[in-house]
Subunit: 164 residues, 2 copies
């Protein structure tokens, strides 16, 4: 019995940073993330979409307490790259996990359907093989988590999921 | 001995689709990905960054053979959303995996350093707990894979990594 999603989780206190309009050429992301790594700041989600006109934007999250340090690092760097920085403080990351995702199509779609049904707006999306994470306003976090729990029936005891 | 990255992989023949300027409100991603799921098209990477001015852009990849079907689905949908569609046919996904990523900072940075050193431009980035994927031009794929192999010493036999 192969369940595509076996768990969901929330990180309540994240902060999002966006660097908008960096040159879309090799080495730029390296400059940005090595400056952040030098300050020993752990980055969580990173999402970059394709750029246009030779520019791209990179979004990432850190824990809320690290936001001031992060901004202190990226602001001067963005200036030297001709880019701008924007951020949001009250965001939460909601994720679903499951090895079954590899063999099931439409898992992301079901997560998005759950959030749409709960009236939750997704600010960022990033996917791995066995995990999908979305960033939502902190005010929507618990509602979002509850809606994916329901959609994937994570509160029902599953065969083999633990004690009988 | 906790190694942050235990493997790297490439998917050579991916195609990227971008839907630019969708309304940034609940339910929009659901409309897009349910239309795609109805055609039984498996979506691989999905990356969305925060929008601005009430609009957002969503990038995703499918296998190259699915590109015509995918465009046939998303083009009319984009029109009804007041958005535009763009795509790229010759792209490859290069990923690194490792459970040790959870406890090591700077893994993404080291991957980006490897690609920067190889002169590879990253078109898209998405991250999970134990996996980081980047989309590069197909012409750069093998070079990119080789550079991360080298950086994370994936070709050296590791203690406990197999036969003595
Ligand atoms: C935008 C940034 O990711 C750039 N393409 C790089 O490779 O560093
Ligand atoms: C842009 C799109 O992701 C939208 N924010 C949604 O939640 O569907």
């Amino acid at each position: 019995h192969d369940v595509p999603v076996c768990g969901a989780a929330i990180v309540k206190d994240e902060a999002r940073v966006g660097i908008v309009g960096v040159p879309d050429q090799p080495g730029i992301s390296h400059r940005i993330f090595s400056a952040i790594a030098q300050e020993n700041i752990a980055v969580d989600m990173i999402a970059q979409n394709v750029g246009s006109g030779g520019k791209a934007s990179i979004g990432f999250t850190v824990t809320k307490t690290e936001l001031p340090n992060t901004l202190a690092v990226v602001r001067p760097l963005a200036v030297s790259l001709g880019a701008s920085v924007e951020h949001a403080e009250e965001v939460s990351k909601v994720s679903i996990v499951g090895t079954g995702m590899r063999t099931h199509t439409g898992v992301a779609e079901r997560m998005f359907a759950a959030l749409a049904g709960a009236g939750v707006n997704m600010k960022m999306i990033t996917t791995g093989d066995i995990k999908i994470s979305v960033l939502v306003d902190k005010a929507d976090g618990v509602k979002a988590l509850r809606s994916v729990h329901q959609t994937f029936q994570l509160d029902k005891p599953r065969a083999g999921a633990g004690l009988p």
